[in-house]
Subunit: 226 residues, 4 copies
């Protein structure tokens, strides 16, 4: 399994125009520069069609936004772990709120990723779902209350009890899983409060991917951890 | 919440011709007779369109085969908890292998059912998925290795370690959830071994629902528990 | 196949609280009374769990809100044509905007319904999708621009060209399919303009199902056709 | 819109190990060589994660195996037209039997592809579904009876009436759409009979993608058209 140093700043490029194709490469390079200059962990998750060109251009971890369960063979349009690995992925988001998965497929995808040495971040929407996700032993769980995604309101500041409560409940069943939080994270203060509440990193998207000055946003985000 | 005495024999009518419409009522009455005569718990899960006529005819618990998450209002073709309750349901199967659900929807359906006093049985396919299901606090989890469903090979006899291992792993995170097992259960010996391995009941379908003599099968099934 | 006299007023009960359980029966009886008193066709589409109690109480056509493709046997939580027929259905909505179906399943469901003598109304969102739906030979196609559903703005008055254009395009490939329109239909003027534009009926929901005085709404709706 | 010369030989790489990553590039180059040497049209459809590296390596048309409807922005794990275009795609398969789509999404994906100048091949499973697919005006329809996919039994030889009948029915509603056939196509005789029956090309997968000598298979396939 790829070793990812904590804490983690993970950037979901979604399907933003500003983070597509060659612009995905440019953005990933900016992430890499900030990561290397400051000795912090920044993960980038471009679109699946962009993984290869991004992973060929940067040395920071490149994640897929999704990974389908299933063995190589008769699937059409699916994104299997083996293929993502060959395309240069180090891991994958799973069960993002914009791409919810069946429970059995989450578990199967985590097992497949584990077998391939890929890191998994399972996204969840509330504390009990987070505990369930932790129960299938992914590398990490990322709690993202859906009502805050893209809101500009940070979960770590608006609903701190969601994070601290989730951390506590997850730890009762899984001592090792990495716990991230997401939704509305946009600056260093959000990251600072997220870490203070017991999470080990953040997952965010628009604040970086849609920014005119992603370097500035990234430098602000990593200020509390460098 | 409806109180269901343990151990549980739950019969999924699926969409078997022999267990549809008026024949669902007849089969449910046979289940009721065996349940009452022997003082055992038999739950019947007819098709959603048959719930009302079955629940109007018997006094044993009638379950839905599925329950959609969601509030009353703008849904078409969905089966909401409020409607199932008014149709006479006492509970619902969730996430059956033939009707897999997204993790977030399993949790939302369990919460909704809980709020309405409906009993929930979440079906699962392996130990880790069972622990994940238990983590969202349903009334019960039913472990059913998919390869044995409808096989005539009993999970409790063919893969006893699946059941005992699952029981142990679930209990580490949830002391209260009822644990059932399914897949290939067809006679009293299967039930006996299932209970001996730590489960608190069984979920089965074809052995009863497709039988020419369901009373005989039921009497055999309940022999170890009456 | 059940014979449905044109024009058609079809009422989707959705999952409205006011149209659930015993209240579904009450509402269906009001629809029946208006239909019989005025010699017009009113179809009611209650929730699947309510079909049996509604169909046992009224003599107007009762439709399902959905019909799953598939043969009797190993399905759990699905609503097959055979079961809906035994529960008293005369037909089914298919592909409602709140329950979109795969193209291959729409066709399979239409074939199954046809085989069972069930009437099918395939809902669609725009002219080309309507032509595609007509190509699989259902009994009827109901055009419902999604942005107008539940809006109170009638498609027949706000976007008359959608209806007239759709009618023309459908007729180029299918002379026989019944063409309905929906979305925002709430009164007799909407029905009148819908018919004038070439449709043969309407599909509506909230204006009747959520009304305090559904008889009044129904009487207004049928005024242009009685 | 990209201009694709008829007849078409389209190769779906599926998720075959032999056609993944660098091996996808190698296979695409063999397809390119046969296409150029013989002046025939060969389209390759690698996995989405492999599109960029394949399209960067060959000059024949590279298609996606799937294209999600939707505008750039808040989607995670989806494959939008804009991104596929930037990754070097000329078109996409849609609604493959291993990735069935909702009717409304097929139409929306075709419109989006059309707007971007991408070629679309909608896969279908029988004649009426083919007519429905043709009604939404894609570039092409590919009829593939699911029971023959991967069977080694050619649809053009085993079920010639499926192809000739489908061609006739499609032409009644759409004069321009390209008609392909698939399922079990593995050699030049299959291609010859397919073209004779009125189709304008073939869609195949395993015969080429899993072959030890794909050049030989390709040369056999294109013999009737070079």
């Amino acid at each position: 399994m790829v070793k990812i140093e904590l804490p983690i700043i993970a950037i979901n490029f979604k399907t933003y125009t500003q983070a597509t194709g060659e612009r995905a490469v440019t953005l990933a390079k900016k992430c890499e520069q900030v990561a290397i200059e400051n000795g912090v962990t920044i993960i980038v998750a471009p679109q699946i069609a962009d993984i290869y060109r991004v992973s060929s251009s940067v040395d920071i971890p490149v994640f897929s936004q999704h990974l389908d369960a299933g063995e190589p063979g008769r699937f059409t349009g699916h994104s299997l772990g083996e293929t993502l690995l060959e395309a240069g992925c180090s891991g994958s988001l799973l069960n993002h709120s914009e791409n919810r998965m069946q429970l059995a497929d989450i578990e199967a995808s985590v097992r497949k990723a584990e077998h391939l040495g890929l890191y998994t971040i399972v996204c969840t929407n509330n504390p009990l779902v987070s505990v369930a996700a932790a129960a299938v032993n992914p590398s990490a769980v990322a709690v993202e209350p859906p009502e805050l995604i893209g809101s500009g309101i940070s979960v770590s500041q608006a609903q701190p009890e969601i994070i601290s409560g989730t951390v506590e409940q997850i730890r009762a069943v899984n001592k090792d899983v990495v716990i991230l939080c997401g939704a509305g994270i946009s600056n260093g203060d959000d990251v600072k409060s997220a870490l203070k509440l017991g999470s080990q990193g953040v997952l965010l998207a628009s604040a970086v991917a849609k920014s005119d000055k992603p370097e500035d946003v990234l430098n602000d985000l990593i200020a509390p951890i460098k």
